[in-house]
Structures are given as structure tokens and as C-alpha cells.
């Protein structure tokens, strides 16, 4: 027999080394040995410690930063009762991204997302939510993970995670929530905090968590800011934004914390009040000068409001404080790329590579930057690496699409010598990987048209425009083709759609003008 470590110490060590499963197993063993009921025995402090440790380990396993998590269901978006103005003034809402033209790039240069915003350099759980205008768009807009959007908040990702965790534990859940005597726990503040986090993060039972938090804050005579923040979090999850706001504000009065500022700003963003959120962030910066998360919050809001130049300024400010901030580097890099400075973008993405980011997206971006910065030797190897690192079909499709783009430009450069076969194959492969890749359909149509296959091009363009009505390119191309073959009526309809997607597009305006002249002559 060798040395045996004290089990609780070993479990604690596992916890600190983030080996949560081992920690949980050990705690379970310890709890089985000592008389174990629903609740820890107050006479046995060791079993109580094991109980808390197990709860904390289980929480850590599924913990995601609540500030970052934002999941809007269709119901919340479409039946939004919290918005103050249905028709907000320009520059005061996140719903009308197009209204603020200050420094916003034109869609002729920078592709846009379905929500009508220029694509960003960084993806967070809340980035792609957007605020679609119509029900159809809401259903169609993919969330980040390409899965369908949940109907409501409460039926989202968290519930599914909960069911899975229940299936994996054969003896049923660790704590049976319905049998808990919450009042008793509320009187033990240390236990209550661990229990709250377990209920909130692991079980996702927000109502029970709220009950516990309410009892605890009462027990602490409303003097503990931590409980107020937790109540606010629960209210936010339940969609009661105004109540959440009150709790956070009261917590801020007691104790100013960065987290509380961030939660409160999140509430304002959900209420579609970006200007209030901005002011709040600035207040927070007065208390905590140079705080990266606050600066980053400001930059995100500007980016969502389509004010790219201000966003870039704040991202630069972030980098002054923390020069390894991935989000800031990625966003500034993509800004440079789309403002015609691929060389500088390349430096930013190389910096990310040096920092150890190693994934499909980064190599794809490096490949594109290298190509446009005329460093052709690195281009194809980067794309190859990106393809080998692609984790799912959609990523591979995007890489093939970009590769197709490179091939198209090569073919154009070598007019007469080069051919478009490579480009053709790349776009085809992109479509094999992702059948809904509207951009690939559009570019394929352009290539078909160059070969003189009008009917195929038209079919491809129709597919593209039905898949992505927010892009102007398929509409405009369809209008051009229809105009050429004499189908003026369809051309006009498509041109109108193109103008709606991109009002400042000169060629579309010219086409519409020509068509109007034609119609006038009839």
C-alpha cells in the first residue's frame, strides 16, 4: 500500500486543476460513505465540504460567462414589448442599422449579414442574433451554430444541455430541487451561494434560483450586492428587463463592480437603448479607467450601430490596454481588409497566429490577406491548411468559396491563357459542402454567363436570390441578364429588389433609369 492522499484534499486538488469529472467522482464516493441525505449533515463538516465541492465542480463543467450569453428566441424578437419606440429615431436603435451612414462600409466592398450589418471580424453568442425585421427573416437567420433559432428563450440551448446531463447520471440528479428546503439554505450564506450557482448554471432552473436568491437577500437584510446581481440575472433570463435593471442599479449603489455595469448594459441593449448603454459604459470607465471589457462593450455597440470608424477607435483603445485581445485584433484586421489595406490586415492576423490561435477561420483569412497583399507563395498553403482544419461542412464550404474567388481573379488576370475551370470547380465544391451557399451560386452564375449559358445562369441566380434576399448581387445580376434577353418586366422587378438591398448602387440606378425610359417609350 502506498501513500493515500486525504480524499477531500485530492478532490480539492482535482478541482483546482480543472479535472472536474474526477473531482465529482471522488466527492460522490465520499458522500456515499458518510450518511448522505438530500442535504449535508451539519454535524459532519467534511461531508458538507464534499457536497459544496461537488456542486461547484458540476457548475464549472457547464459554466459559461453569463455576460456573453445572449439568446433571443423568435418569440422574444417578434413579440417585443420592451422596445420603447416602434419607429425609433435614427442613431438611437439597434434595429435600423442602415440609418447611421457614418463610416459604414458599402455592401459593394464589405459583405453584409442577413440582418443587414457588415460582417464582423469576431463571432460571439449574441453577434449573429441581429434584429430581423420580418418573421420570415427571423426564422431563416441562422444562429451561430447553424442550428435553428429556438422558439423562445426558455426552450433554447440550456434546456437541452440539462436533459443531457440528467441522462448521463444514472442515479438521477445530484440535488433534487423540488425537495429542497430553500429557507434553510438561505440562512447559510456560503452554502447558498454555491447552491445558487449550481441551480442557475447546471440545472438551469431559473425560477428556483430566483426563489433562493430572494430568500437569501432577505436574510442578508438587502445588504449583500452579490445577491442583488444574481436576482437581476434571474430576472434577465426570465425576460423581466425592467426588474433586472432595478436590481442591478441597486447593487451598483452598494458596490461598484465591472460585472454589474456589464449586466446592466446588457439589459439596456435588450431594451434596444444603445445610447443609454453607451453612457453607462462611459460612467463605468470613469470608475474603472481603461477597463478592457467596458471599452470592448462600447466598441461592440458602435459596430452593431454600423458606426465602424468609432468602433475601430475603441478597439484600438482596447489593444492599448491589452495587446493580446483576440476580438479587438480580429475586428481591426477585418476592418483593414475591407478598407483596401490587406497588407495591414495580414499583420493583424499574423499576430493572432503568433498568439496561438490555430483554426480554420484564421488560416482562411490569412490566405485571403496574402492573396490581396500579393504574397502568392503563402496563399494556397494557407487555404490548404484551412481546409484541413475545417471542423464542419459549412466552414469547408466558405473556404472553397474564397478559394474560388482567388481562382476567378487569377483567370481574369491571365485573360486568354487562364481558364475558369478551377474557379468553377471550387464553387461547385463549396455547394457540395453547403447547399445553401448563396454567394457561391451567384459567382457560379457569373461564370456560366461568361460561357454563354444564359438559362443556367438565370436558374442559379434565382436560387441565390431566394436563399439570400439581403444581398444585392444576385438581384442585380438577374436584372442585367433579363435586360439583355429582353425580359424587361422581370429585370425591373429584380432591379427594384437590388435597389432595396443597396440603395446607393450606381449601376442599379442606371439600369432602373434605362428601364423606365424603355417603359415610357412603350
Amino acid at each position: 500500500m502506498g501513500w493515500e492522499m486525504e480524499p477531500l484534499l485530492l478532490a480539492w486538488s482535482y478541482f483546482r486543476r480543472r479535472k472536474f469529472q474526477l473531482c465529482v467522482d471522488l466527492c460522490t464516493q465520499m458522500l456515499e460513505k458518510s450518511p448522505y441525505d438530500q442535504e449535508p449533515d451539519p454535524e459532519l463538516p467534511i461531508s458538507q465540504a464534499a457536497w459544496i465541492l461537488k456542486a461547484r465542480a458540476l457548475t464549472e463543467m457547464v459554466y459559461v460567462d453569463e455576460i456573453d450569453v445572449d439568446q433571443e428566441g423568435i418569440a422574444e424578437m417578434m413579440l417585443d414589448e420592451n422596445a420603447i419606440a416602434q419607429v425609433p429615431r435614427p442613431g438611437t436603435s439597434l434595429k435600423l442599422p442602415g440609418t447611421n451612414q457614418m463610416g459604414g462600409p458599402s455592401p459593394a466592398v464589405r459583405p453584409i449579414t442577413q440582418a443587414g450589418r457588415p460582417i464582423t471580424g469576431f463571432l460571439r453568442p449574441s453577434t449573429q442574433g441581429g434584429r430581423p425585421g420580418t418573421m420570415e427573416q427571423a426564422i431563416r437567420t441562422p444562429r451561430t451554430a447553424y442550428t435553428a433559432r429556438p422558439i423562445t428563450n426558455s426552450s433554447g440551448r440550456f434546456v437541452r444541455l440539462g436533459t443531457a446531463s440528467m441522462l448521463t447520471s444514472p442515479d438521477g440528479p445530484f440535488i433534487n430541487l423540488s425537495r429542497l428546503n430553500l429557507t434553510k439554505y438561505a440562512q447559510k450564506p456560503k452554502l447558498a451561494k454555491a447552491l445558487f450557482e449550481y441551480i442557475f448554471h447546471h440545472e438551469n432552473d431559473v425560477k428556483t434560483a430566483l426563489d433562493l436568491a430572494a430568500l437569501s437577500t432577505e436574510y442578508s437584510q438587502y445588504k449583500d450586492w452579490w445577491w442583488k446581481v444574481q436576482i437581476g440575472k434571474c430576472y434577465y433570463r426570465l425576460g423581466m428587463y425592467r426588474d433586472a435593471e432595478k436590481q442591478f442599479k441597486s447593487a451598483l449603489k452598494q458596490q461598484e463592480m465591472v460585472d454589474t455595469f456589464l449586466y446592466l448594459a446588457k439589459v439596456y441593449i435588450s431594451l434596444d437603448q444603445p445610447v443609454t448603454a453607451l453612457n453607462l459604459f462611459k460612467q463605468g470607465l470613469d470608475k474603472f479607467p481603461g477597463e478592457v471589457t467596458l471599452l470592448c462593450g462600447i466598441a461592440r455597440i458602435y459596430e452593431e450601430m454600423n458606426n465602424i470608424s468609432s468602433a475601430a477607435e475603441y478597439y484600438k483603445e482596447v489593444l492599448k490596454q491589452d495587446n493580446t485581445h483576440i476580438e479587438a485584433i480580429a475586428c481591426i484586421g477585418s476592418n483593414h481588409f475591407y478598407s483596401d489595406q490587406p497588407e495591414i490586415a495580414l499583420r493583424f492576423y499574423r499576430r493572432l497566429l503568433q498568439m496561438g490561435v490555430y483554426n480554420c477561420q484564421l488560416f482562411n483569412n490569412l490566405g485571403l490577406c496574402c492573396f490581396y497583399a500579393q504574397q502568392y507563395d503563402m496563399t494556397l498553403t494557407s487555404f490548404e491548411r484551412a481546409l484541413s482544419l475545417a471542423e464542419n461542412e459549412e466552414e469547408a464550404a466558405d473556404v472553397w468559396y474564397n478559394l474560388g474567388h482567388v481562382a476567378v481573379i487569377c483567370a481574369f488576370l491571365l485573360q486568354g491563357i487562364g481558364d475558369t475551370n478551377l474557379a468553377h470547380q471550387c464553387f461547385r465544391l463549396a455547394l457540395v459542402h453547403n447547399n445553401h451557399h448563396a454567394e457561391a451560386y451567384n459567382n457560379l452564375a457569373v461564370l456560366e454567363m461568361r460561357k454563354g449559358h444564359v438559362e443556367q445562369a438565370r436558374a442559379l441566380l434565382q436560387t441565390a436570390s431566394s436563399l439570400a434576399p439581403h444581398m444585392y448581387e444576385p438581384h442585380f445580376n438577374f436584372a442585367t441578364i433579363s435586360d439583355k434577353i429582353g425580359d424587361l418586366q422581370r429585370s425591373y422587378v429584380a432591379a427594384q429588389k437590388s435597389a432595396a438591398a443597396f440603395p446607393d448602387h450606381v449601376d442599379t440606378q442606371l439600369l432602373i433609369k434605362q428601364l423606365k425610359q424603355h417603359f415610357a417609350m412603350l
Binding site: 459559461v64 450569453v69 459593394a108 466592398v109 464589405r110 459583405p111 460582417i119 464582423t120 471580424g121 469576431f122 463571432l123 460571439r124 453568442p125 453577434t127 451561430t144 451554430a145 440551448r157 437541452r160 444541455l161 436533459t163 443531457a164 446531463s165 441522462l167 448521463t168 483576440i326 476580438e327 480580429a330 484586421g333 477585418s334 481588409f337 475591407y338 493572432l352 483554426n359 477561420q361 484564421l362 482562411n364 483569412n365 485571403l368 466558405d398 473556404v399 468559396y401 474564397n402 474567388h405 482567388v406 476567378v408 481574369f412 488576370l413 448563396a438 454567394e439 451567384n442 459567382n443 457569373v446 444581398m471 448581387e473 442585380f476 445580376n477 442585367t480 449601376d507 442606371l510 439600369l511
Partner: protein, 112 residues
């Protein structure tokens, strides 16, 4: 010289819209280069000094033919840590549920 051609080609490519314009500008480029080389008979000291040329006679016609637009290259956004963790957890959850279902199905088949 090659550089010049490359830049010229690029600038032309930017305006793919007008094919005729490209042809015309190619001829003028040849003319300019021809003159500079013939003026400097000593090839060692050939310095290409390009001056802008505004043709004062002859016709320069530009016909704007609308062409189709390609969709732009897409930089892929990087994923935040939270998002990666969420996706991983979701994947793991899906896998466990699927495994359970498969196991149940197999058991049912055995009992039948």
C-alpha cells in the same frame, strides 16, 4: 516595364465594364513605351520616365457595358471562447442523447 503593364492591367481590370477602353489604352501604352526607348539609344541608361499623356487628337470612346457583379470574398469571423465552449457542450449533449437512444433501440430489438 512589366510593372507598368501589371498596374495598367490591374487598373483596367477594375473597370472590366468597358472592354473597348482596354483595347485603346493598350495601344497607347505601346506607343508611349516605343517612343521612350527609341529616344534613348543607349540602353544602359534607359530611364523610364512616365509622363501622363492626354491625347489631344483622335477619338477616345468609352462605352459603359454593365457587367455582372461577383460576390465579395468573405473573411470568416473568429469564434469567441464562450461560443466555442457552448458549441462543444451542445455537441457533447447531442452525442450522449444519441448514444442513449441507440442503446435503447438495440435493447428493444433484443427483447423483441
Amino acid at each position: 516595364m512589366l510593372m507598368f503593364f501589371a498596374s495598367l492591367l490591374c487598373s483596367c481590370l477594375n473597370r472590366m465594364a468597358c472592354t473597348r477602353f482596354i483595347c485603346l489604352s493598350f495601344y497607347t501604352a505601346h506607343d508611349i513605351l516605343g517612343k521612350t526607348v527609341s529616344n534613348n539609344s543607349d540602353m544602359a541608361e534607359v530611364k523610364f520616365v512616365f509622363r501622363e499623356v492626354l491625347p489631344k487628337q483622335g477619338q477616345l470612346s468609352v462605352e459603359d457595358i454593365t457587367t455582372m457583379v461577383l460576390c465579395k470574398p468573405k473573411l470568416l469571423p473568429l469564434k469567441s471562447l464562450t461560443l466555442e465552449k457552448l458549441e462543444k457542450m451542445q455537441q457533447a449533449a447531442n452525442d450522449t442523447i444519441r448514444q442513449q437512444e441507440m442503446a435503447e433501440k438495440e435493447q428493444q430489438q433484443i427483447t423483441h
